[in-house]
Symmetry: C2
Subunit: 139 residues, 2 copies
Amino acid sequence: MSHEEWRAFLIEGTRTAKVGVVRKDGSPVVAPVWFVLEDDDTIVFTTHRTTTKGYALRRDPRLALCVDDDRPPYAFVRIAGIATCEERSPDLLAYATRLGGRYMGADRAEEYGRRNAVEGEMVVRVRPERVNAQTDIAD
Amino acid sequence: MSHEEWRAFLIEGTRTAKVGVVRKDGSPVVAPVWFVLEDDDTIVFTTHRTTTKGYALRRDPRLALCVDDDRPPYAFVRIAGIATCEERSPDLLAYATRLGGRYMGADRAEEYGRRNAVEGEMVVRVRPERVNAQTDIAD
């Protein structure tokens, strides 16, 4: 996929990202997240500092993620990068609201923004360092 | 979700699993795979020994995976376990054919079985050690 194609793929509908991080003991974790894509390709999601991925990311910011289409002929975008975790971010409510709008609909954006912009929730930003995007896997 | 519910969730339609493994340098990898679920809950997929996840799994068999529904109200199953990688498996063609049937349709099962049961392709089996299954995430 071209740069424009993988951007369009990431932002289509309510596709979630499956985020991979590594625990202190070296074992992997994979969890789904709601995310938005900024104009400069930064991927932004929120997670609480006390979730498994929150703990792991604060210890080791190396992150991988995968967004896929699980219907024939199948396609995916895989991204690797270094995450920055911002606690008490002044942008938290705005991001939580955008995420609510993307995933629950514009009419519920504010409701979900307020619900998710809670104490301890971090804004996580990832600039893609490597992108692997493939379409028509089955062909 | 109950045991029967998460089993049913995993085998619904053409849902793919996003598999997380850890590279030698300690960084995470996440990749989508086609998989089948055995009666004893073993998850089986195939991957080539020279893929990133093939290399990583032969070095460190700890594996995490996530299968999710990316539409409201959202749901996911996360599983962690230890993978066994069988090279030159006598079961490779049979699994590749089942995988082809699940993901490309019964009429193309044999075609995809032959296509994917190639030299170097490993049969990977994972017995779930931890299961985290949640429905109605947005509620």
